[in-house]
Assembly symmetry: D2
Homo-oligomer: 265 residues x 4
Amino acid sequence: MNDQSGEKKVCLVIGAGAGIGGAITKKFASAGYHVCFARRSDRTGLTNMEKDLRTSGYSVSGHILDVTKEDVIEELIGEIEQKVGSIHTAVYNVGAQIGNRSLEDTKLKTFELGWRLGTFGLYRLAKELLPVMAARGAGNLLVTGATASVRGNSGQHSHAATMASRRMLCQSLNAEFAERGVHICHIIIDGLVDAPDTLGKMLGPKQFELLRQSKGYEKNGLLLPNHIAETYYQLAHQHPSTWTFETDLRPHSAVPWWNHITRDF
Amino acid sequence: MNDQSGEKKVCLVIGAGAGIGGAITKKFASAGYHVCFARRSDRTGLTNMEKDLRTSGYSVSGHILDVTKEDVIEELIGEIEQKVGSIHTAVYNVGAQIGNRSLEDTKLKTFELGWRLGTFGLYRLAKELLPVMAARGAGNLLVTGATASVRGNSGQHSHAATMASRRMLCQSLNAEFAERGVHICHIIIDGLVDAPDTLGKMLGPKQFELLRQSKGYEKNGLLLPNHIAETYYQLAHQHPSTWTFETDLRPHSAVPWWNHITRDF
Amino acid sequence: MNDQSGEKKVCLVIGAGAGIGGAITKKFASAGYHVCFARRSDRTGLTNMEKDLRTSGYSVSGHILDVTKEDVIEELIGEIEQKVGSIHTAVYNVGAQIGNRSLEDTKLKTFELGWRLGTFGLYRLAKELLPVMAARGAGNLLVTGATASVRGNSGQHSHAATMASRRMLCQSLNAEFAERGVHICHIIIDGLVDAPDTLGKMLGPKQFELLRQSKGYEKNGLLLPNHIAETYYQLAHQHPSTWTFETDLRPHSAVPWWNHITRDF
Amino acid sequence: MNDQSGEKKVCLVIGAGAGIGGAITKKFASAGYHVCFARRSDRTGLTNMEKDLRTSGYSVSGHILDVTKEDVIEELIGEIEQKVGSIHTAVYNVGAQIGNRSLEDTKLKTFELGWRLGTFGLYRLAKELLPVMAARGAGNLLVTGATASVRGNSGQHSHAATMASRRMLCQSLNAEFAERGVHICHIIIDGLVDAPDTLGKMLGPKQFELLRQSKGYEKNGLLLPNHIAETYYQLAHQHPSTWTFETDLRPHSAVPWWNHITRDF
């Protein structure tokens, strides 16, 4: 996809493994974008993903990026803007889930890491990129949220604290930048995602496959990354008269976050 | 658009004048649906709309329908299901806005009418149609919400009461029918819509045109029905693994409902 | 309790059986108010309650009042204001819970009744009383909410629709009347109440007693009406510089409405 | 106030200057508690406050405490629990407001400091104290929230991010500790507080006095710390069957966070 100057449009995906981020990378690339995608670790996985996408004829470049390290986000954005092209859409898809841990089992360091991954990384990305987008009067920042963005729960001290923070940061960014042409959008992923790199690793391969058999596949009880990516793509292409700030996504058979299982009286 | 049996897919739009409902009618018709659209009054407007759409080669049928009258919703659904085809997507887009009125100026009859238009009509539609969709294991119910769906305000006694009710009815319907294959989706229209039949009538033609000049047109400060319709169409075609229950839409330059103009300290 | 003119202060409680409403009646009466309390039916229960309270030296008067009947709310308020005294605090505690019923099992008449009890009765009360309070520059309207005020659920079509409506009506009333000196307060009762007239009747005496033994008594797992009444009383006596619009109440061991039982990943 | 063993009950207030925290200190002390209060700086102010309170016959001890420093919260709690007595109620009232600053004007260090003050300090307090309270089966943690706890806004990037995080941390703590007897309560202060140490310093003495004259005094348009303290005290003494998790407070004439000034159509 080319912009008016004939230049290829650029999409940046931070947090792109074999799940939502990977699917978004593929979706935007297949639509003609050059996609810069980044993941925290696993150079081999990164190179393979790059190869696969290029084999399909897509224009992509992969980066290893630990968002908790100083200056790395800022440098990557600078490099892309200078050497690759203007970022049309940035996706912040870095997870901060550590499973359920009691307060006692959540260390101070873990809690701080949750904040660095969940909130501070987005803040740094925004600080570097949004003024540039605003100067151009155009751009999208799509941010992945979770159930924990909208309610705390037992065992979710670190996760809920950082995801709620991320959401309110998005509201603040929206209030400052939407009228200047930058579309901020927060997508609440309210269910289990069929993603080997996150849920798969948390459960282990065997339990993950059992879950897929009981809930996923034809039952559509797990969120499918490719379909999530469709929604992200549509959100990045809404007309400025008609923007979404927040949307939620869940499998048709999942219980939404606001519904108890307990019966009401 | 035909379903597996080769039959044309049917879309029903209740509340279809020269605004959101009309644009949704056009969008679904242009995508190959047969669209049954209904509006409260104005037979001439209805006939003209029907003619225009048919001239474009679309398959549509218009109905005059006052949702506050007994049995009419139920009968229309029965008629469509029997004679036209299975309803794939139903849109409840009936407005209940009466402008800002103080408590004293809002009569009991007005308040009750607000409830009949805003809530009870949707309830009756759901009661008639959702069990049928659930038996087929498929179908969409898209419901238009408003700023008043999520917060009350001075002068909004009737409107906020009925729109919040509509929203919670949607949550209840979703809890009962989503796992049975029926997609319920509530779309919060959080801004002024560039629609002559609603905003235009409320303001009068002169003030409406002034508003368009100051906020709309190239400034994209009014929601454009055609772009709203895009989102409705996308929502009706999400994969069952990845459904949206709620999304919001507003012009890029509009202040969202949760933001004061007053500064924080 | 007397106001500056030496007149006894008046409290009106609508929905006063052997639960929250009864406890509020007792609390305000014991603090020196004259309390007019009303319930839908059961003349004997009413008379006994009246006797008991008077035996304790309290000043009360009981009324049978079916809020769904025309003019009765308006007449009662007129009568009290004329013959008894200025209403300092009005409590709308009318329930609209019908237990869990599927969409199919909820009749149109039932849904409409839910609206009349849950929303319309409050609207009529507000319309009659709030302008009078505003003219005096003082007064309280305390409104009982429920879990269903803030989220819909399976089987809660009627209840959630009307309780959400009630809540947004309160927000609208607050926006119009708070600055004129009328304190509107919405209290979310987010748990089971140890009340024989509501929960007790729904469960039957045997199951109700079993529930009390398993959850209530020393375990404090059921909301106790007397303690709820404490909070209502405090809310009615907040200083105008420091008003609460919304508060929630639940037993310490209850799961709040926003928490799943399902584990997060 | 003495507990069953005859020991004086202890209240700990973190963030106690000449505003909400100071008023809470006074309220609990006047009710018979020994109150340990802490503020970030101003040794003279601390000593004067201590003197004043002791002159009134109250039992208090003041501490200088910078919650961003390692181990200091943990050590203070250990010291109090060992040498003074069991903490009955802890109040986390540390502010994180920096006024309105654009994204560009909010430095990374400032954003991180906001998190340390707003979120991490509470987390450390909870981690140290809540297991101890849970082992006793009793205790209260009252946490001050703000408008920014529930919505982001232009200029509020740091403040909203940390206050929303604080709120979700409270929800997570509540989910883990309420059933074990620890009452977590989050109080949303949704308006300007008549407090010289916070609002007064932000505005400067002259503008602060002008604001008091235009909004405060007899107009009750600024939140009064003494009345806020009343509510905190009541919340700390609710019966376990009937606990509040969240409540809001604002002046009667203030516009609540969910209400625009813009009119609806």
